[in-house]
Structures are given as structure tokens and as C-alpha cells.
């Protein structure tokens, strides 16, 4: 390997040596000098357009985020000229920004707010024309408030380059520029798949989830309603962050306690249904392997991915597993099996899912996901919304005593837990398929080949009966598109594909706590949260879905067997082809 070339530069009087190609922004960081940025999102969005990061190089002011360090450069980051230029940049942005920090969803988590504060902006010298636009509430998942948009382009780059969904872009020019879907359509009528990655990318409060907090309070207040909540695996490893706990802290027990304090009548675990999904999907896989039809089997628990297939690969809808996603299965069972057991009219049951995900909000409203004119799930709240409710209720979260989930949907195995991490569904399915085919127990339950946060992983697994499963585990839709195109060209051949729309899987879902850009540059959030997921898996006594005693019970008492008629009616679904544009 070539020895890396070094260059010597001077920053604020300090001489440093950095690798050639390093930006001035990164070089400064190495010596502990902080330069503010706004439009810059490392490796995703580097348009050098906002100029919040200017530094003095000789007589000139240059944006440091994309400026490559060159031998002999003399850089100043803290001069009157620099400070004033940055102030002007931010003041100009603020002059066309709907400033309502106290009632903004991103209050205290807004990069513009903290930058204005750090730059000591106390009065605005410019007051000019304001962009006016209605808030776009059309989508059940994502809300767009153009009046707060600072046109940094981070959402567009994320949606186009990372996710390859291309739902939004810059429209018009000059002062009239806005961000939105083509033909100025409402977001709900676009190809947006509701992943919410744009929310995580947005530095301000211009993009956020379609909130349902007040709906939940209203249902809880209603004495006629039995309000039941279930929580996805990825929520418990991230919720603590909203209360100052380190990234990667597991707060399962506290979360359960908080949900009871909020006033939910039953607190269930979606992981139970994840185990059920494995039984159903594993059986489906074994059947498809036998008949050779509709392979590869593609997972269907991520509604972002499902909608992506519906828009972009409608000729492969048959390959999607017909299984509903776990929380939808659980909702369907709550309104049938559980309602019967409790002797309550299912119409009086409200099912709320706490999810790391904004796409689940859209999913829960799909008409395919209902039974006898009742939606399986009534409301979906994101991890962030739950944190908000806990705060609103005045609960001292950090000091809560651990509590346990309610049964019958409270018991889950490690296999159900790892659904929250990329590769988790595949691993859980393999654990079960392997033993079902072998007809005996296995010692090894860890399929390490499918773990890890890389975008595309492949593994070949030979089943005890000699059948071979070529598996691809994918996270991030840009990666999924690549693999799908290879499959369509016949260059790849798989039997089983797991896809999670969000980079890193649900642990990094669009409904998870916002982690500011600087923390993200220092800690890999995906690794920290997924480690917590696998720790939880390890900590559970049962780690294979088909060994969950409550799963056995529900098949014995109610469903019969996996893929039975009743299972199909309650736990399976179908998909629709959607327009490509």
C-alpha cells in the first residue's frame, strides 16, 4: 500500500499534519477546534451551500466543510471577520424562518436554534419577505412545514442517495425555492415510503412525524375503552436516550412501568408476535422451498420496504411474504383471541403500537390490515412520541422500578427481540426453520454471518435435509435497489431476503430519538443500539420462536397450526401495485 501522503497546515497558529484529502473542517476537529456546520452531512450531503462553516484562508472566507487541506495553508477560525460572517449567514436564514421555538417539536433538539445561540445572536438585523405555505399533513406518517425549512438539502440527499426513493427535491428557484414532491403533490400522493430518514436528517423542525399523542390521551380518558399498548423491540434500546441515558442503554422494565403509569390497561410486547411471524414465515419458507414457487421469499415486516416494492418492483409482489408485520399480527390477535378471552367487544379495544418507525403509521391505516371493518392497530406512536407522553405525564423515568409485560402477549424469546436489528428476522427464521426441518434441537443458535450493520450481507445455509438457502440481508433501500436489480437481471439467485428500509434496521428507524449530528460523528448509534438488542437476546432464557410456550399455546387453543385457515385470515395479507411516479 502507498504510504499516505501528508500535508502540513496551520490552524489558529497551531501547526498540524493531516492526510492529504482531509477537509479543513475535519483537520480542525482533530485539534479540538469546533467549526459549526448546517448543510453538511458527512458523505451524504456536501453542497457547501449554507456557509455557516466559513473560515479565513489568507484574505478569503471559504466554506471549510468541503475545503481540502493543502500544504502551507494558513487557516483562521476565530477572527472578527469569521464570527461576523457566520452571524450574518445565520441571521439571514432566521429572517425567513418561522421562529416559534417554544412550541416547536424540535425545541432543544434543533441545530439552527443551538447555532444561533452559540453565535450569540440576540437580535435580528434583517426582516424581509417570508415564505408562506400550508403545512402538509396529507401523509399519515410525515408532516412537512415548509415555513421552517432552511433549504439545506439534507432530506433530499438522504431520500435520493441513501434511500433511492427520490420522493422529494428542490422546486423553483431563488426566493421561491421549496422542498417537496414533484408536481407539488402532497406527500401522501408521492412515492414516499414513509421511512422518516429525512426527519433524522433534518436539522430543524421542518419535517416530523404525524403526531397522535392527543388521540391516545383521549382514548385513555374514555372509560368505555380498553386501551392496549404493545412495544417493538427497537424502542427499549433507544427510549432511554430521551431521558439522558447513554446510547445503547436497555430500559425495557422502566418502559413497561412508564406505560402503566400513563394509563394503558394492558402492556404487551410486540416481540411475542415477532415469534409468531417466525412460525408463519418459517413455514411459508419451507413450503416455498418445496414447491420452488415465488422464490426468493422476501420479508414483509418493514412497511417502508413493502411500499418501495409496490412502487418500484410491482412484478415481484408475489415474492413478498404474505405475513403481516408483527405488530399487525398482534393487533389482529388482540381483537380476536384476547377479546374473546377477556370477554370484551373488540370494538371497545384500542390497540396502540409504540414503534421506532414512522412507516408503521402509514401501515396501520392500510385497508388490507383490518378485519371485520376494524383496523388491526388503531394508532402508532414513535419512540419520540412516547418519550413526550412520559414527560407530559411528569413521570420520573430514570428512577422507575422495572416492571414486566402482561400476558398472554408478554412472553417473547430472544428470536423475537432481534427483529429490531438488521439481520434479526433472518437469524430468527433460520433458528426455527433449521430445527423444524431437522426435527430436533440445535446447540448453536447464533448465525453470526447475518449480524452486523453492513448494508448487504450474504450467507449460505445448508439445512439438515440438504436444501440450501442463499440468504441476503439488506438494510437501507439504496442497497435493496441494487440487489433487486441484480435479481431482475438474473445475476443473483437467492431463496430468502430480509430487507429493512432504514440504514441499520429499525434501531435507526425514522421514529427513534434524534441524535444530533456531532454525536453521530463520534458514536455509531447503530452499533450501540444493536449491541443492546443482542444483549437482550442473550439475556433471555428461550431464544427460539417455536419454543415460546405461549406461542405453542395460541396454536393449540386458537390458531391450529402455522399457515392454517384462521392464521391466513388473521395473520396474512396482500399487496397492491402502485405507480412508479
Amino acid at each position: 500500500m502507498n504510504k499516505l501522503e501528508k500535508v502540513k497546515i496551520m490552524i489558529d497558529g497551531l501547526e498540524i499534519e493531516v492526510e492529504k484529502g482531509t477537509t479543513v473542517l475535519e483537520a480542525a476537529k482533530e485539534v479540538g477546534i469546533h467549526i459549526p456546520t448546517l448543510c453538511y452531512l458527512k458523505n451524504v450531503n456536501e453542497p457547501s451551500s449554507c456557509r455557516a462553516c466559513v473560515v479565513e484562508v489568507g484574505p478569503r472566507l471559504i466554506a471549510s466543510c468541503t475545503l481540502k487541506a493543502e500544504d502551507g495553508m494558513n487557516i483562521k477560525t476565530n477572527t472578527k471577520k469569521v464570527r461576523e460572517a457566520r452571524k450574518t449567514v445565520v441571521e439571514l436564514i432566521l429572517s425567513d424562518h418561522k421562529r416559534e421555538c417554544t412550541s416547536c417539536l424540535r425545541n432543544e433538539k434543533c441545530e439552527l436554534q443551538s447555532l444561533a445561540n452559540n453565535l450569540n445572536i440576540r437580535e435580528l438585523r434583517f426582516e424581509g419577505e417570508r415564505t408562506r405555505a400550508e403545512i402538509d399533513y396529507s401523509s399519515p406518517a410525515i408532516v412537512r412545514d415548509i415555513e421552517k425549512c432552511i433549504l439545506c438539502g439534507r432530506c433530499i440527499a438522504t431520500c435520493s442517495n441513501v434511500q433511492t426513493v427520490n420522493a422529494i427535491g428542490f422546486i423553483n428557484r431563488g426566493f421561491g425555492t421549496i422542498v417537496g414532491p414533484s408536481f407539488d403533490k402532497p406527500l401522501a400522493d408521492s412515492v414516499c415510503i414513509n421511512c422518516g430518514q429525512c426527519i433524522l436528517a433534518c436539522p430543524v423542525g421542518a419535517l416530523y412525524e404525524h403526531e397522535n399523542i392527543n388521540d391516545i390521551w383521549r382514548e385513555i380518558e374514555n372509560p368505555d375503552k380498553l386501551v392496549v399498548v404493545q412495544t417493538a423491540p427497537a424502542v427499549r434500546v433507544a427510549l432511554g436516550e430521551e431521558f439522558g441515558l447513554p446510547i445503547g442503554t436497555r430500559v425495557t422494565g422502566k418502559m413497561v412501568a412508564a406505560l402503566r403509569k400513563i394509563g394503558f390497561d394492558k402492556v404487551f410486547d410486540t416481540d411475542f408476535a415477532a415469534d409468531l411471524t417466525i412460525m408463519e414465515e418459517g413455514t411459508e419458507l419451507i413450503k416455498r422451498l418445496e414447491t420452488g414457487e415465488n422464490l426468493p421469499l422476501m420479508t414483509s415486516c418493514c412497511p417502508g420496504w413493502v411500499k418501495f416494492v409496490e412502487h418500484n418492483f410491482p412484478n415481484m409482489l408475489e415474492n413478498l411474504s404474505t405475513c403481516k408485520s408483527p405488530h399487525e399480527m398482534e393487533g389482529a390477535l388482540i381483537k380476536s383471541y384476547f377479546a374473546k378471552r377477556m370477554n370484551v367487544d373488540p370494538k371497545n379495544i384500542v390497540v396502540v403500537s409504540i414503534m421506532p418507525c414512522t412507516a408503521k403509521k402509514f401501515e396501520s391505516q392500510r385497508e388490507e390490515l383490518s378485519n371485520q371493518q376494524m383496523q388491526d392497530v388503531d394508532y402508532v406512536l414513535t419512540t419520540r412520541e412516547l418519550a413526550q407522553m412520559i414527560k407530559e405525564a411528569g413521570i420520573d423515568f430514570v428512577n422507575l422500578k422495572d416492571e414486566e409485560f402482561d400476558n398472554p402477549f408478554g412472553e417473547a424469546t430472544g428470536a423475537g427481540v432481534i427483529f429490531g436489528a438488521t439481520g434479526g428476522v433472518a437469524e430468527a427464521a433460520l433458528r426455527t426453520v433449521f430445527e423444524l426441518v431437522a426435527g430436533k434441537d440445535l446447540d448453536t443458535v447464533d448465525f453470526n454471518a447475518v449480524r452486523g450493520i453492513e448494508g448487504i450481507k450474504e450467507a449460505t445455509i445448508e439445512l439438515p435435509n440438504g436444501a440450501v438457502i442463499n440468504t441476503a440481508v439488506i438494510n437501507g433501500l439504496g442497497n435493496a435497489r441494487k440487489v433487486m436489480e441484480l435479481i431482475q437481471k438474473g445475476e443473483k439467485n437467492y431463496q430468502f431476503i430480509e430487507v429493512m428500509a432504514c440504514p441499520g434496521g429499525c434501531i435507526n428507524g425514522g421514529g427513534q430519538p434524534i441524535v444530533d449530528k456531532e454525536t453521530r460523528e463520534n458514536i455509531d448509534v447503530k452499533i450501540a443500539r444493536s449491541k443492546a438488542i443482542y444483549d437482550e437476546d442473550k439475556s433471555l432464557p428461550i431464544r427460539k420462536s417455536h419454543k415460546n410456550p405461549y406461542i405453542k399455546k395460541i396454536y393449540d387453543e386458537f390458531l391450529g397450526e402455522p399457515n392454517s385457515h384462521l392464521s391466513h385470515q388473521l395473520l396474512h395479507t396482500n399487496y397492491v401495485a402502485r405507480e412508479k411516479f
Partner: protein, 167 residues
Amino acid sequence: MEQTQTMCCNCGNQQDERNDKLNELIQKYRDVKGGLIPVLHGVQEIYGYLNEDALKVVSEELAVPMSEIYGVATFYSFFSLEPKGEHVIRVCLGTACYVKGAQQVLDKLSEKLNVEVNKTTEDQKFTLEASRCLGACGLAPVIMIDDDVYGKLTPEMVDEILEKYNK
């Protein structure tokens, strides 16, 4: 009656012809870097405006996302996303015209033609546009229909002028 029929027929032919032209255009630029802008110019020439269905074909064939195409189409003012009528009426709303009652003239036109500003009449005959200063302030208020200039207008004069184009 007969006339209407022939028109319909032509319409169909025209459609095919346009599609052929669009395909030709795309073939020409398919592998050309920066081919999007010339293709959009071509589409506008063929259809008179950037027709949504044609843009879908362009997006598919050139493998450029629609979000990007729409961005370009709205960035440059010479692209139009609305079909243009046979005649384009531009009403100057520059300061001079405005103070001399251009808005009333515009309102009258809009009412008379039953069309919103920056839209085209249903029969595709007129497009009504509000425009920046047309540079004929001495004649304020001014409108232009295609290349003809009409000055010192009052709302009452609108009927007579439109007559000429309604033949």
C-alpha cells in the same frame, strides 16, 4: 359537425406523431451526459409544454428521477408545466401599469375568458399570464397578445380586442 370529426382524427394522428418524436428525441440523447436539458427543450417543442406523461417517459428512459426533472423544469423560467393556448395574453403588472389599473384589466380578462391567471382556457385558445414590466410604461396599462401590444387600456376595451382573436 363534420369539422369536429376531422379534428378528432387529426388529434389521434398527432398523438402518435408526438410519441414518435419523443422516442426519437430520447434515442438521440440517451447516452449523452447532460442530455436532460436538451430533452426537456425537445419535449416542450413537441407538446408545447412539459407534459407530465412525457416527463414520466423521460424519467424512465434516461434513468433520471422525477424529483430531479421537476427541479430542473421549475428552475428555468423558459420551461412551462402548463399547456399554452393558441394565443398567449400577457398583462403587465409592472408598477406603472399597476397604478394605472392593470389589475382591473387582468380581472376583466380572467372573468371574460373564465380562466385563472397563469392558466389556459378549456378550449386551449388563450393562456392568461401576469407579467413583469413589459417595457412599454408610456402606454400603461399594457397587455401583449402574442406579439401585438395594446396600450392605454380600460377594462371596457377588452371585449373588442378579444373579438379579433376569437374568429
